[in-house]
Symmetry: C2
């Protein structure tokens, strides 16, 4: 089944201890769509400026991502510039230019309005809510956010997550949103705000899924993280992509979807932008999922 | 098979957001011995002062811990005073009085020298090495340490871990000892110093075992951590206790031992000192191990 992704498309300038890229293809909608496209068909809604290169569109088209909803506005594409130190866990922002993204009003093409799976990637929660209200009876809505919205638009965010099925957030954001330092308490509180399911991403420590029960997924042990940009969105894309592919929402499928998300994110961080993902094969995905299984497997006796 | 534990016995004064205890039974050898005693017989080597209460000895005797090696010296028992904030991950020390522990020279009774399993709990690495040199052909030596020794006695510590089979360390200590922020790199480097196996404890994020391959164990999801003191030692006790019980060192057994360690630590932190552990039953241990299995279980399809 197909997935609607609404989020940002960006041109990122990123420096890590291992190199630098300038105006590389990025943004929450790009990473998540690209990742989801390995499992299901994806329809993207986002905005770019008139400077957005044709070759970047082609990268998305290569994966059959439907760009009907990619609005092009006069002006420049959203630009983020940042760097990472040797501790690759924290992004340091040098500059954020919203450009055409500042006045982004997502327009959902009519042909997209029946899409059963919806991923609201990280954008203003008010826009996420608008998108939700224009979708007809989605089967599953997954939503991401960031600390900026927790701090600046808490009420709108709470309004939005009331209406989503699965909310994805990172460890620090979970603590911030809930006011609880214990992650299990934090999860309980956030779920009391509305979302049936919650995923807390913990970077190098894996991810926790809270639904009918708790699932703890390990991270794939990577010795060299090249550039962590987009890992969270790639996780979300793999997660919803897998669910759209398997078509059910059983606990077993949700768990497998978390592992797919983990796997996709582990590939994403092996190079800048989509460089690693563009070389990715199904066999590699399957093989890494198997390694994650081995990594966490034990038998009680 | 039996286990020799060498470490500290302390009387701790601890305050957490949930209460306070004064001069409670504690110390690395106490927590680890008590935990290991659920799986195997334990022989303890440590020092206490003349103020050490008989009732504390009786708590250890209840679990049939052999106290022949518990030296009693004129003076006061090692005393640690500290507190934890709502973020229970960090212990804040108010006062450390080494007392009789300052001049501790572990004397291994002759009847202990053939003990096949040895746990060198957190004490001066020079003493750990001395102990090791007085043991005859141990089957397995497991060793713990702390940041203090990494900083003050790095050379002695490196000398010691060259000779141990499995080294247990926490996340921050692993980064400090190796100079690597990536835990997978850190593990590789520390193992290059000598120990065949390495366990990195990550508190609420579980534990990683590095041996022939990597095993990632989740933490047991506890909503209320009452007092984290002794969790690491209790983990180590459960780990070596289980290995001594099952008698082999296969990868499958090592993994199960990590899960036993995780389980025991999760009980330890549910109350002050050994209060929770003293009420612990075999059935509870088995049941929690099963829950940890469910927590991390998924099937690839």
């Amino acid at each position: 089944m197909s997935i609607l992704v609404v989020g940002s498309v960006a041109m990122d300038t990123i420096e890590t201890p291992f190199g630098k890229v300038t105006n590389a293809l990025g943004g929450s909608a790009v990473y998540s769509s690209y990742s989801a496209s390995f499992f299901s068909t994806v329809k993207l809604v986002a905005v770019v400026g008139s400077d957005f290169p044709e070759k970047y569109k082609n990268i998305l088209k290569e994966r059959k991502i439907d760009l009907q909803g990619l609005q092009e506005e006069e002006g420049k594409t959203f630009h983020w510039e940042g760097f990472y130190d040797f501790d690759l866990n924290t992004a340091h922002t040098i500059n954020t230019e919203l450009n055409v993204f500042e006045n982004f009003e997502p327009v959902i093409p009519d042909s997209f309005k029946n899409t059963p799976y919806v991923f609201l990637a990280n954008i203003d929660p008010e826009l996420q809510l608008k998108v939700l209200n224009s979708i007809k009876h989605p089967k599953l809505v997954v939503c991401d956010t960031m600390n900026f919205w927790i701090e600046k638009k808490r009420d709108a965010l709470l309004e939005t997550i009331k209406k989503v099925d699965i909310f994805i957030i990172n460890e620090g954001e979970a603590r911030e949103l809930s006011g609880e330092s214990n992650l299990i308490k934090a999860a309980k509180k956030i779920r009391s705000f509305g979302p049936k399911g919650l995923i807390i991403k913990k970077g190098e420590h894996g991810a926790l899924l809270f639904s009918d029960n708790i699932f703890s997924a390990p991270a794939y042990p990577l010795e060299s993280v090249f550039d962590p940009t987009g890992a969270g969105d790639t996780f979300a894309g793999g997660f919803i992509g897998y669910l759209a592919k398997c078509g059910d929402l059983t606990d077993a499928s949700l768990r497998r979807a978390v592992v797919r998300g983990t796997t996709m994110a582990s590939f994403c961080v092996e190079n800048f932008t989509l460089d690693r993902m563009r070389m990715l094969t199904e066999t590699e995905i399957t093989s890494r999922c198997r390694k994650i299984k081995e990594l966490s497997h034990f038998e009680n006796i």
